[in-house]
C-alpha cells in the first residue's frame, strides 16, 4: 500500500494549471474536500436500506480517506485505534464463543446492507471474500490474511477470545485504517453472530483448526 505511482503527466498538468496565474482555478485541499463532499451528495440517491447518511463520514473514515492509502503517522494511527477500542462492547454475560457451524454460514454469506438486498434478509460477514478460512473452501479472497489454523497461532485462552471478539467487533481498534469492516460497531453483525464467528476461528472442532 506504500507505493503510489501518480502518473507523471497528470501531475504535471495539474501543477502547470496551479502555477499559471489566471488559469489557477484549481482549488486548494480544503476547498477540494468541500467540493468532493458536494459532488457526492449530488451524485447518489437513497435506495433500499441505503440512505444518503451513508455518505457522511465519521472521524475514522475521514482520517483514513485523507491518508489516501499511505500509512498514517504513528500518533495519528494510535489515536484512531484508541478511539475505536473504546467502542468495543463485550457481551454482558461474558460468553464470547458461540457455535462454529453458524459461524461458517455467516462467513459464507455475502448478502446484507446493500441497497439491492431484500429488506430484513440475511446479513453475513462475507469473511471468505477476503480471507482463507477453512481448508475445504477454495473460493477465498486474499485482501486479508489467511485465518486457517487460527487457533494454533492465537492459543485457546480468554485473552485470545477477547481479542478475536473485539477484532471482529471493531477492526480499527487494532489496525488503524484496516480494510476490514467494523462488524459490531457499525451494527452489521449481531452479538450472537460475532460469537459464532469467534467460535469458527477458535473452536478446536471448527474446520478452521482441522
Amino acid at each position: 500500500m506504500n507505493r503510489r505511482t501518480f502518473p507523471a503527466n497528470a501531475a504535471a498538468a495539474i501543477l502547470v494549471a496551479a502555477l499559471v496565474p489566471g488559469c489557477a482555478t484549481t482549488p486548494g485541499d480544503d476547498e477540494l474536500a468541500a467540493r468532493t463532499t458536494r459532488v457526492l451528495h449530488d451524485s447518489f440517491e437513497a435506495a433500499g436500506e441505503a440512505g444518503l447518511e451513508r455518505l457522511d463520514q465519521d472521524e475514522t473514515q475521514r482520517s483514513c480517506s485523507a491518508a489516501a492509502g499511505k500509512p498514517l503517522p504513528r500518533d495519528a494511527a494510535a489515536k484512531i485505534e484508541a478511539a475505536n477500542l473504546a467502542t468495543v462492547r463485550y457481551p454482558a454475560d461474558g460468553k464470547l464463543v458461540g457455535d462454529w457451524k453458524n459461524g461458517e454460514k455467516i462467513a459464507q454469506e455475502g448478502r446484507g446492507r446493500q441497497f439491492s438486498d431484500e429488506p430484513g434478509g440475511p446479513v453475513g460477514g462475507n469473511c471468505y471474500a477476503c480471507h482463507q478460512v477453512s481448508k475445504s473452501e477454495l473460493a477465498y479472497g486474499t485482501i486479508g490474511p489467511s485465518l486457517y489454523r487460527y487457533l494454533e497461532r492465537r492459543g485457546n485462552t480468554v485473552e485470545a477470545q477477547r481479542y478475536t471478539y473485539a477484532k471482529i467487533y471493531n477492526s480499527e481498534a487494532f489496525a488503524a485504517c484496516s480494510n476490514m469492516p467494523r462488524f459490531g460497531y457499525k451494527g452489521i453483525l449481531s452479538e450472537q453472530q460475532i460469537r459464532d464467528v469467534t467460535a469458527l476461528l477458535l473452536d478446536p472442532a471448527s474446520p478452521v483448526n482441522q
Binding site: 507505493r3 495539474i14 451513508r54 483514513c64 480517506s65 441497497f115 479472497g141 485482501i143 469492516p181
Partner: protein, 268 residues
Amino acid sequence: MKAVLGCVALLAMGIAPALAAQSSTTDEIAKYRAALQDGNPAELWEARGEGIWKAPRGPKRASLERCDLGLGPGVVKGAYARLPRYFADADRVQDLESRLVWCMTTLQGLTAAEALKNRFGNGSGARSDLEALAAYVSSESQGAKMDVPLAHPKEIEAYRIGEKLFYYRGGTHDFACATCHGEEGKRIRLQDLPDLTTPEGARAAYTTWPAYRVSQGEVRTFEWRLYDCFRQQRFPELVFGSDAAIALTVFLARNANGAPFAAPAIKR
C-alpha cells in the same frame, strides 16, 4: 449466438470448479477469455448500436450522426479513447454515456427520462439503447491509444475530485474503491482485482470496458461498472451521468493514457 453462449456456459461450468485449487487458475481463465474473444457476443450490441446511431429518432426525427463526441460532429473513430472531456456547449465534463444523453436530448428532442430509460438492460426483455450505442462507439476506438485530456480547469478539477472519491471511505462497511483496488495481486473469492493506483493496473482495467458479461448476458459500460461497485460498497445508488461517476471515470481513464484501447471485451 446460441452456439456461442452454450459454449460459454459449458466452459464456465467445466473450468471453474476443476481448476479452482490450482495456482494456474488465473492463467487458465486468461486463456478461456482469449478463446472467447473470437466470438464475443458484444458484436451484436455493436451492430445494434450502429443502427441506433444512424436512425432518425425523437420528435426532431434526427439521427446521432451530428452528435459531437469531441472530435467533431459525427466523428466516432477514436472518440472513446479521448473521453471523458470538457464540452463547451454543455459547460461540463462528460463521459460517453452522458454525452450520448446530451445528444439525444438536444439533437433528437428526447426527454432525459426517455434517453435514460433502460439505461442498464436486464439480460432479456428490456434492452438498453445506451449499452448498444456504447458498444458501437467504443468498438470504433479499438487499437487507439488512450488519450484523455487534462487541460481545461474543469477536467483538472474532475480528475482531482475523482482521486478523492477513489479513496473515500463511507457507508456501513467503511469501503472505498481503494479497499479492493489499492494493492497488486489481490482477489475477492476467486475474482482477480486490478490495482487501479498504478498506470499498469488502470490501463489493463479501463481499456477492457465496455464488456460483454457472460454471467449477465449483457454488454456493460463503465457507468455500470462504477454503479455496481458502489452497490457492493454499501453506498446508496450512484446516479447515472452524475458528477461523481464522471470524476471517477476521468481519474481512471486518464491514468490509463498511453494504453491501446481493447474493448468491448468479454468478462465472466
